[in-house]
Symmetry: C2
Subunit: 390 residues, 2 copies
């Protein structure tokens, strides 16, 4: 069982105090580093991104903008308007630009959808990403659908459909793969759900982690967007922060009905992309970038699989089945998640996500992201030391 020394307890209290100020989100690694200078943070396994994709983006950025002195243009002038940037995205995802709403990160889209389209009642599966219920307006009733711990937080399709039919919300949200457990609903199951919920006004599918999921051994990319033309009640939300490792740029988009896009653009969201997000979203449609990205994506998935395989061998923890780039870990030896996160950070310089504040998660949980190969090795040996030393 993990115990903290007096000295460690002091630092742990500080970390938890900073965490409490960040609400139900983790404080950024910079905030933690600045406020607790005694920490030596080496690995951020809290942030759920593909670090190889960040390398790739920086390579293109450097070649396209820094070496050519074009960075100034991107920073000085107004970026294009929302509908123009939608045209770039349209090229990459084969969806009409009239169905694309560009967001300042997926979080802006979540806010817009919850404030403008969700009306009377929304069903949200928990545990999940907290903004989906925190951003709901006062006039929306939020109903939680508890994913079953005994069933490893897997979505029970028929039970879910039955629940929705009985609850009669106007909106539902499915994050696929789900955060924080990485649980995945297959394309066919998702299609079955959507087919059975045609009366629901807004079926929100959050695909922020979908580039890490796979259904075949070649890790072919999957998305519910191919269902969009048949089901106009779909709102597919896509963050670019995770799969492309560029959370600082704030880029995201959603696929939704033409009338919904028109409604949002009618009185807002005019210049909500930055010059750098415009550059990225153009890059996203470039073949020379995309070919390279696919290699980086598949390589990261295969490394993540090895990472999970190794983690599963560590004693005294349960690793939940995940098709995302992170895993939910439950501590089984009586250690608290707080002590685990603090010890891992103080002793090994690894920053992970505590699960205590996640509604619907009962037990001592930590979420750990896969990083680069060598970092993953350090994460595994450190967790092993923590959990197997006594």
């Amino acid at each position: 069982m993990i115990n903290l020394t007096k000295e460690e307890q002091k630092i742990s209290d500080k970390i938890l105090e900073i965490k409490s100020r960040s609400g139900t989100h983790s404080p950024s690694i910079f905030t933690v580093a600045e406020e607790v200078p005694e920490l030596k943070i080496k690995i951020d396994a809290c942030f759920l991104s593909n670090p190889y994709a960040t390398d790739l983006f920086l390579e293109f950025l450097s070649k396209d903008l820094i070496e050519t002195n074009k960075l100034r243009d991107v920073l000085e002038f107004y970026p294009s308007q929302n509908n123009i940037i939608a045209e770039f995205i349209s090229k990459s995802i084969n969806i009409s630009d009239k169905n694309i709403f560009v967001g300042n990160g997926a979080i802006e889209i979540i806010q817009a959808v919850l404030h403008r389209f969700v009306k009377r009642k929304i069903v949200i599966n928990i545990p999940t990403f907290s903004s989906y219920y925190e951003f709901a307006t006062e006039s929306t009733e939020v109903i939680f659908y508890q994913l079953d711990k005994e069933d490893d937080y897997k979505l029970n399709i028929d039970n879910y459909i039955k629940f929705i039919k009985e609850t009669k919300p106007d909106s539902v949200v499915i994050i696929n793969p789900n955060n924080p457990d990485g649980g995945y609903v297959s394309y066919n199951d998702l299609k079955y759900i959507i087919e059975n919920l045609s009366e629901i006004e807004n079926i929100i599918i959050d695909e922020s982690f979908i580039h890490f999921a796979y259904e075949d051994s070649d890790f072919k990319m999957i998305s519910a967007s191919t269902l969009f033309n048949k089901f106009e009640n779909l709102i597919i939300i896509k963050s670019m922060s995770k799969d492309f490792g560029i959370a600082g740029i704030r880029a995201g988009y959603a696929i939704m009905s033409e009338s919904k896009v028109r409604q949002l653009l009618k009185n807002g969201y005019l210049w909500n992309s930055s010059g750098l997000s415009e550059y990225f979203l153009k890059l996203y449609s470039r073949e020379d970038f995309f070919i390279r990205y696919e290699i980086v994506r598949k390589n990261y998935i295969s490394e993540t699989l090895k990472f999970i395989e190794e983690l599963e061998k560590v004693k005294n923890i349960k690793v939940y089945k995940s098709k995302a780039n992170f895993v939910l870990i439950e501590l089984l030896d009586g250690s608290t998640a707080e002590n685990f996160v603090s010890k891992l950070l103080i002793k090994h310089g690894i920053y992970t996500r505590i699960g205590n504040d996640k509604k619907g998660l009962k037990g001592e949980f930590i979420r750990v992201a896969a990083r680069k190969y060598l970092d993953n090795k350090v994460i595994i040996s450190s967790i092993r030391e923590l959990m197997e030393s006594d």
Copy 2:
């Protein structure tokens, strides 16, 4: 009078077509350049920014982020949350962070204020920045207060107060200096207006161009923010795109009552700054940057004054009195604004803003921004050639 050749007319039609697709805003210089490749655009006098401030920002960015390889951190990780960034701004402007709302550009704040605080009725002075009426919700009645052309679009203080008392809106907007004419309401006059409108729920003061205004020969910086502690109904909106020449970064903030900030952050606007805007807003509070900025700001104002002085000497145009970094020009020789803008762009590579789509502006108007010293000389000689050649 300006006439176009057949060839020029064709290009002009293309430009106007692109313009019409951008609504009541100008298409970005990149969109125009891409879609009309026959143009050789040399000077963007449409974009209302201080180009010397862009130089300064790039100097710091280069030293702080690019040369140190810290750019990756800014792009890869999540930026800080809204309330944390408000703390940085608080240091620069001496207003409590609890009264600061950080926006993804001022435009996001305009949208938030219009959608969340403006209720029944808003009075907007015209001509003005169109988003103030375009972003109003359907349930808000928009009342226009026409600035008097005979009085050079100057705000007539007593007449304005009388109009507001009679119209009884819950919200009013004053852009100071105003866009597109640069008309300035002095600090004391503004104070007088605010004192007399204590019954108005939201007095919105847009200070996007305030760093270019001055009341003494030393160009000392002025802002209505010093009035905030006495008048809680003020909402002061500040774009950073113009004075700092960084529209591509999307940075802005507003000063408003604690309860208004809380209301907005309660269910949204969590991560609406990018890593680069966070970097800039930290820089904004750094003394080493601010000392340099003040020099650059004052230098630009003094060059702008010379620019306006020279423009006033050009025949067949009227230059409206401006305390911003741009001037509104009226064509007096029967030339159309369309022909002026097209000819200046096609023949001289200078991009300016046509005034035809500005509600409340009657006549043939162009808005021209001051750029760097040498560019200003080119702008003046080109306009002189256009207006004095026949």
